[in-house]
């Protein structure tokens, strides 16, 4: 995703993408990050137990935990409010 995202938006994006187990490379490519930034974000999410690290045949993969899905749910409801409350406008 291009554009200027907040760190919470990036957490959300990673967590949604990791509903299925994903490798580090796929995550940083999908979320449009460099590897250093990607590592920092994943370490934070691991520390909060929002994602879990699994190892399968020597391949490390990340997947979203139930706590991570809860974060996604809260984020969704907050952001849906932004368009739910404001009147729409059109040309």
């Amino acid at each position: 995703m291009k554009g200027r995202r907040t760190q919470y938006e990036i957490y959300w994006e990673i967590l949604v993408f990791c509903y299925e187990s994903r490798t580090f490379t796929k995550i940083i490519n999908r979320c449009d990050m460099n590897s250093k930034t990607g590592q920092e974000y994943l370490e934070f999410l691991l520390s909060k137990k929002y994602i879990a690290l699994e190892e399968d045949e020597g391949r490390k993969q990340y997947s979203t935990t139930p706590a991570g899905r809860e974060y996604v749910g809260i984020f969704n409801s907050l952001y849906l409010e932004l368009f739910d409350e404001r009147p729409d406008f059109k040309l």
Binding site: K2, G3, T6, Y8, F44, F75, L82, F83, D88, F89
Partner: protein
């Protein structure tokens, strides 16, 4: 869910429409800028009209042309961002889950944050061009009604087309209206961004602080 999806679609189409109208206005601005400058220069070469109108016309036409180029560049910047969001919306059209709709909202917010300087530049240029066009139109009206095109026999030899005189005034009014419309929408978007900042505080409490 369908309602929010519909709102998103409307907003994206509005942004696209705004960009297209700006692009059209910028292109017309280039054309009219060239027209004002060349008409003034041609009249000067023919010895018609006074020096003030000649210099004023060439200056206004030249400045308008240069500003229109910047205008087009800022519109293109905004347009490519909005088109990306539209493509995402089309791809997720049949999903309509919370995650897919939030994904569009996040992308739209991120795009607006990134393109906000270009949007503000578009707005300022639209306002400035509006004023320049009105100034150009007034100069041409001055030229016609005050200076006139009178030959030695006292005959009116050249009457500029009414459309050519009225067009800059109409373009100026359109540019100012476009600017006003943008300002109203920008206020909505700024409120959304402010609200998302306050949401960040809630999310910070939930996560126990970001990085």
């Amino acid at each position: 869910m369908t309602e929010i999806y519909g709102k998103l679609e409307n907003e994206i189409l509005t942004l696209i429409g705004l960009s297209v109208i700006n692009l059209i206005m910028a292109a017309l601005t280039i054309a009219l800028g060239v027209n004002i400058a060349t008409t003034a220069a041609a009249n000067g070469i023919d010895g018609v009209g006074n020096i003030v109108v000649l210099i004023g016309g060439v200056l206004i036409g030249g400045i308008t042309f240069a500003i229109a180029i910047y205008w087009i560049l800022s519109v293109v910047t905004v347009f490519e961002g909005v088109i990306d969001v539209k493509e995402s919306l089309e791809q997720k059209k049949n999903e309509k889950t919370d995650d897919s709709i939030t994904s569009i909202i996040v992308q739209l917010m991120a795009t607006y944050r990134e393109k906000k300087p270009a949007l503000e530049l578009m707005n300022k240029i639209s306002k400035l061009v509006g004023i320049l066009f009105i100034a150009g139109g007034i100069l041409q009206l001055f030229d016609m009604f005050v200076v006139g095109y009178i030959n030695d026999q006292g005959q009116l030899v050249l009457i500029p087309s009414i459309v050519v005189m009225i067009l800059p005034l109409a373009m100026g009014a359109a540019c100012l209206l476009l600017s006003k419309y943008y300002a109203e929408n920008a206020a909505e978007w700024d409120m959304r961004l402010a609200k998302s900042d306050s949401m960040a505080d809630s999310l910070e409490n939930i996560t126990g602080g970001g990085q």
